[in-house]
C-alpha cells in the first residue's frame, strides 16, 4: 500500500516509516504539517493516511483527516496520544491507534486495514490496541 505519514515528530515518523518500508509498503512523507500533507496528496493519492493529531503547533491533524475524507475519500487512521479528541472526530477516520505503539502493532494494524479496505475475506482479528470507529464502513 502507499501510505502517507502525517507526523511532526522526527523520531516517531522515522520509526513508522522504517517499520512500514520493512513490511513492503511505500511511504509518502513524512509530512510535518497539514499543508505539507495536502501538497503531497496533490501529487499522488495514498491508499491510507496515518495522522498524528498534533501537527505543528495545533491540532490540525483533525482538519487533515476531515479534508482527505471529504475531498478525496482517502481513509485515515489517527495515531495519537489524544484518544478522546480522536474519538470526538470519529466521523472522518477509520479509527485510532494510541501512542505509544510497537512497530509490530503498527504493521499488523496496517495489514488489517488493508484487508478491510480491499474487502478481502479473511476474518482476521484486529490488533488489540487498535480502536476502530465502527460507524464507518471500510471500503466506502
Amino acid at each position: 500500500m502507499l501510505i502517507l505519514i502525517a507526523e511532526d515528530d522526527a523520531l516517531n515518523a522515522f520509526m513508522m516509516e522504517q517499520s512500514l518500508l520493512w513490511a513492503g509498503h511505500s511511504i509518502m512523507g513524512p509530512a510535518g504539517t497539514m499543508a505539507e500533507a495536502l501538497a503531497l496528496i496533490g501529487q499522488r493519492r495514498p491508499d491510507l493516511a496515518l495522522i498524528d493529531i498534533n501537527l505543528g503547533s495545533s491540532t490540525s491533524g483533525l482538519d487533515l483527516a476531515r479534508d482527505i475524507c471529504t475531498r478525496w475519500n482517502i481513509p485515515g487512521l489517527f495515531v495519537t496520544g489524544q484518544i478522546e479528541l480522536a474519538r470526538a472526530h470519529r466521523a472522518h477516520a477509520l479509527g485510532v491507534l494510541p501512542k505509544p505503539f510497537t512497530p509490530q502493532t503498527l504493521c499488523r494494524t496496517v495489514d488489517y486495514l488493508q484487508a478491510r479496505l480491499t474487502s478481502r475475506a479473511g476474518g482476521a482479528e484486529p490488533p488489540r490496541r487498535l480502536e476502530l470507529f465502527e460507524s464507518r464502513d471500510a471500503g466506502n
Binding site: E7, D8, D9, A10, L11, N12, A13, F14, M15, E17, Q18, S19, W22, G29, P30, A31, G32, E36, N54, G56, S57, G81, K99, P100, T102, P103
Partner: protein, 350 residues
C-alpha cells in the same frame, strides 16, 4: 495589563462600576461624581437590562435602596449564580437610615450572591463612597489576577502533559529502532545508550531554555560534546550564522548531528585520532525563500567507500530532514564524508 489606582486622569477603559439607582436623578449624579474621580460608571437602559449589564462583568456594583425590587434581586441572583471559584463581584449598597436597617442588611446578605458586601447609610459621605468603590475595584483587580494565574497553570499543565508524552514516545521510538538494527545485546546497549544520551542532552538544553528557541550553535555544541576534547580542539569545528530554531526542530537537528557523529565514530573521522569534523551552517536565499544549509565535512579519516547499503543513521537523517520539507545530500568524497542538509527557515520555527 490593567492600570493600577489612579488619582488623576481619565477612567481606565477596562474597569467600570454598575450603578443601579432608579430614584430620580440619583444615577446621573453618581455617574458625574465618579467621572470627576476618574471612575467609569454604566447604568441599565431600556436596551440593556440589569441581567445584560451583569453579563458584561462589572468590576463593582452599586445599588441604592430603591433598586431592591424582587425582579432585580432575582436577576442578580440568576446572573451571578454560577460565578467561578475565583470570582466574587463586590457589591456596595446605599441604604436609608431607619430602624429597619439591620434587618435589611441581613436580608441583603442572604439575597446577594457575594461575600463582598459593603453597606453605607444615606446621606452618603463622598469620602466613604469613593473609598468603598475604589476598594471594590482593587478587590476585583486581584480576583482577575487569580483568574489569569489559574489559566496559566492550566495551560502549563497541558503543555507539560504533552511534552512528557512526547518524550516517552521518543524513548520508545529510539528503543524500537535500535532493537531492529542490533544483532547483539552489546551492539544494542552501545547504540541505545548513545541515542538515549543524545536525546537527554537535547531535552536538557530545551528545558534550560524553557522550551523556547534554541541557538543552533548550542545544539551543535551539546551534541558534539562527547567528541570534543581540550587536548585536540581542532578535532571538531562548529560555526555558522547566528540563528535559533524551535524546540521540535532542535530535537530533530540534534538527533541528526548525533547520528552523523556516531557514524563518524564507527567508520569515519572520529574513528581515528587525526580525524577532523567541520560543521558549518549558513542562511541562503533563493526564489524569495530563506533556507538554512548545514554542512558536515569529515577529513583525515580512513578512506571512504560509498556504502552498498544505507546505514541506519543515514536513513534517519534523510527521513528527518524530509519531515522538515528539506533535503539531505550525502557525498562520499575521497577526503571524507560530506553531508549537506538544506531546509526552509520556516520549517525550523517550531
Amino acid at each position: 495589563m490593567h492600570s493600577h489606582d489612579k488619582e488623576l486622569g481619565g477612567p481606565d477603559l477596562d474597569e467600570w462600576v454598575l450603578l443601579v439607582a432608579p430614584f430620580r436623578d440619583d444615577e446621573r449624579y453618581l455617574q458625574q461624581f465618579l467621572s470627576i474621580h476618574g471612575i467609569a460608571a454604566r447604568t441599565c437602559t431600556a436596551a440593556s437590562t440589569l441581567a445584560d449589564m451583569l453579563v458584561q462583568q462589572p468590576w463593582t456594583v452599586v445599588l441604592t435602596q430603591e433598586a431592591f425590587t424582587a425582579g432585580n434581586i432575582e436577576a442578580i441572583g440568576a446572573s451571578l449564580a454560577n460565578q467561578p471559584e475565583w470570582s466574587d463581584i463586590p457589591f456596595i449598597v446605599l441604604l436609608d437610615a431607619d430602624k429597619q436597617t439591620n434587618t435589611s442588611v441581613s436580608t441583603l446578605q442572604t439575597l446577594l450572591p457575594s461575600k463582598h458586601l459593603t453597606v453605607m447609610q444615606r446621606p452618603i459621605r463622598t469620602a466613604e463612597l469613593l473609598t468603598g468603590i475604589r476598594s471594590g475595584l482593587a478587590a476585583r483587580r486581584k480576583q482577575l489576577h487569580v483568574r489569569d494565574y489559574l489559566d496559566m497553570q492550566e495551560t502549563m499543565q497541558r503543555e507539560l502533559n504533552h511534552r512528557v508524552k512526547n518524550i516517552l514516545s521518543n524513548v520508545f521510538a529510539v528503543y524500537h529502532m535500535t532493537v531492529q538494527q542490533s544483532s547483539s545485546l552489546e551492539a544494542f546497549r552501545e547504540t541505545f545508550e548513545g541515542r538515549l544520551s543524545a536525546l537527554v542532552r537535547v531535552h536538557s538544553m530545551l528545558a534550560a531554555s524553557g522550551f523556547r528557541d534554541t541557538r543552533l550553535a548550542d545544539i551543535a555544541e551539546q551534541t558534539l560534546a562527547p567528541y570534543t576534547s581540550p587536548q585536540s580542539p581542532e578535532r571538531v569545528r562548529a560555526a555558522g550564522a547566528e540563528l535559533s530554531v524551535g524546540p521540535a526542530s532542535a530535537t530533530t537537528i540534534g538527533l541528526c548531528i548525533h547520528e552523523l557523529a556516531t557514524n563518524a565514530a564507527k567508520y569515519g573521522a572520529f574513528s581515528v585520532a587525526e580525524g577532523r569534523v567541520s560543521l558549518t551552517w549558513q542562511v541562503t536565499e533563493a526564489n524569495d525563500e530563506r533556507a538554512i544549509e548545514l554542512a558536515w565535512e569529515e577529513a583525515g579519516g580512513p578512506a571512504v567507500a560509498k556504502p552498498t547499503r544505507q546505514g541506519f543513521g543515514t536513513m534517519f537523517v534523510r527521513s528527518a530532514i524530509r519531515g522538515l520539507r528539506g533535503h539531505a545530500e550525502f557525498q562520499f568524497l575521497p577526503t571524507g564524508l560530506r553531508c549537506v542538509l538544506r531546509m526552509p527557515s520556516s520549517s525550523l520555527a517550531a
